[in-house]
Symmetry: C2
Subunit: 308 residues, 2 copies
């Protein structure tokens, strides 16, 4: 018995076969952006999968799980994803079901990561936790009572679009001050451009245009501007997490994605500001954890676990 996990990303799509113990025994990557027509994209994935499945024709395949930005669990569609080549509503589950005659379940990428962490990673055994992806944007998956909170329409978990700064930075969603304009890998670069103006001797002034990785590298060298950039970012994230804890009271919050790779530079200020701002009953009680799974595997594992 095995299942198929597909992690659709704006740049690449990862495909894997996963056994019952969460071992990925076949995997490959294709370029998402090459496939302007969704049918070509599905065909390309089929070409990858068919030989693998034929090799294992003696085993039952449980189905196909897909994690995708703006993937909707209820409708099986990708809906108005700004960073994917296909516009409008894409009935991806239907397309795969027609081709493979297997059960297909879709959810958004952060929810798939949450399921991956719950089944195999840092959230093993937890029934109430949050996973937050700090990548190009900020995504999130909320688990309560052992299940993903999908909301009434399948679109819950948009922590990246909580407004943390009224009239703040313009967000891709058209509003201002969303969390993801501050605490994503792109948001921290915007903060950096503001902060380095106060630090003419910061090494970051010589690294323009900046990336979140360069801010991390500068912080490791003790660059004062870089440290202040992480402090500012951790404050905004920590304050938002304190408010979020008041709603779902998670056992742990898992930080994941590009910015989380900065380790204690982002974890320490985030945790400190979360604890300063949280209702006292939760003071120092909510764990802030890194993912326990290889970053490339989480979404494949989570997607595959959707059909288990």
């Amino acid at each position: 018995m095995y299942s198929i996990g597909i992690d659709v990303g704006g740049t690449t799509t990862k495909i894997g076969l996963v056994d019952e113990d969460g071992k990925i025994f076949k995997q490959d990557i294709i370029d998402t952006s090459t496939y302007v027509d969704i049918n070509d994209f599905v065909d390309a994935i089929e070409q990858t999968l068919r030989p693998w499945m034929q090799e294992r024709s003696h085993l039952a395949c449980k189905g196909i799980g897909i994690g995708a930005p703006n993937g909707n669990f209820y409708t099986g569609s990708i809906e108005f994803a700004p960073n994917l080549p296909w516009k409008g509503v894409v009935p991806l589950a239907d397309l795969f079901e027609t081709k493979f005659k297997l059960p297909v379940i879709i959810t958004n990428d952060a929810n798939a990561a949450a399921i991956g962490e719950m089944r195999y990673g840092a959230a093993k055994g937890m029934n109430n936790f949050i996973i937050i992806t700090l990548g190009t944007g900020v995504g999130s998956g909320f688990v309560a009572n052992g299940g993903i909170i999908y909301g009434h329409d399948g679109a819950a978990g948009e922590l990246g679009h909580v407004i943390v700064q009224p009239n703040g930075r313009l967000c891709g969603c058209g509003r201002n001050g969303c969390l993801e304009t501050y605490t994503s890998a792109t948001g921290i670069v915007k903060t950096a451009l503001e902060v380095i103006q106060k630090y003419p001797s910061s090494i970051l002034n010589q690294k323009l245009p900046l990336s979140s990785k360069e801010i991390f590298e500068a912080a490791k060298e003790g660059d004062q501007a870089a440290l202040e950039i992480f402090e500012t970012t951790g404050k905004i994230l920590g304050e938002c997490l304190a408010n979020t804890v008041a709603i779902t009271s998670p056992e742990a919050i898992i930080l994941f994605g590009g910015l989380a790779r900065a380790g204690h530079f982002i974890f320490e200020p985030t945790e400190r500001h979360m604890n300063t701002n949280v209702l006292r009953i939760w003071n120092n009680k909510i764990k802030l954890l890194p993912s326990m799974l290889p970053e490339n595997d989480v979404a494949i594992l989570g997607a595959a676990a959707l059909v288990v």
Copy 2:
């Protein structure tokens, strides 16, 4: 078959017998604050219940459900409730179980109200909604996937303690700027005292000390200060609800309690500001509803439904 619902409040405690269809066929009220010793409180409730139960000795009693401030579903205790006569941790479920030899389930008052609305009221048939009680404080109950979100420790749903104004008004919790310092029945009075300074001719200046009811009465008469007070309060609540929707994507939000009785004076600005601030996919899609149950009955019905 019937069940017992108990709604423990700071001032009064309501006790009811509820049949399978949600009809309260016996009910009474006792003064909570009279009973400094928790054992006397439990005895008083027993004295009320015993004759009712004897009358119905031919029927099975499913158990006792209790809604109480700071009531913890997991532990069966009331924990550090600031507005009750009993300090520290009160093992209320144990005390009732010992006396009645029946299953006893406790939750906080807002969660009990959520269950009441889900089973018999405005949230009938909904699997994802929020109830917000705008009383002396602000309480909330979150339902996702058809179940209450209790969180890892039973304390989830503290929307009243989301910080909406950094360094804002001092809250009873010891922090500053919590939602309940602005949008509770007491919070709106504080806003009123600020606003009426700009309106020397407002009738509210002659009603000091104010109550939320008087602000409502003044608004009905078209008092400009009163209308601005509701506008300010609705803005703060609506902005907070917009952020909350991004997390759990509820089908509806039910407003309940003293301040909700102001009807469209509070619903209209709250809904408008929620829709102005929410992520576009939810624009004009989240229902803002009043409770559909008599205010005195909701918590008894919800508490009783805990054991059904």
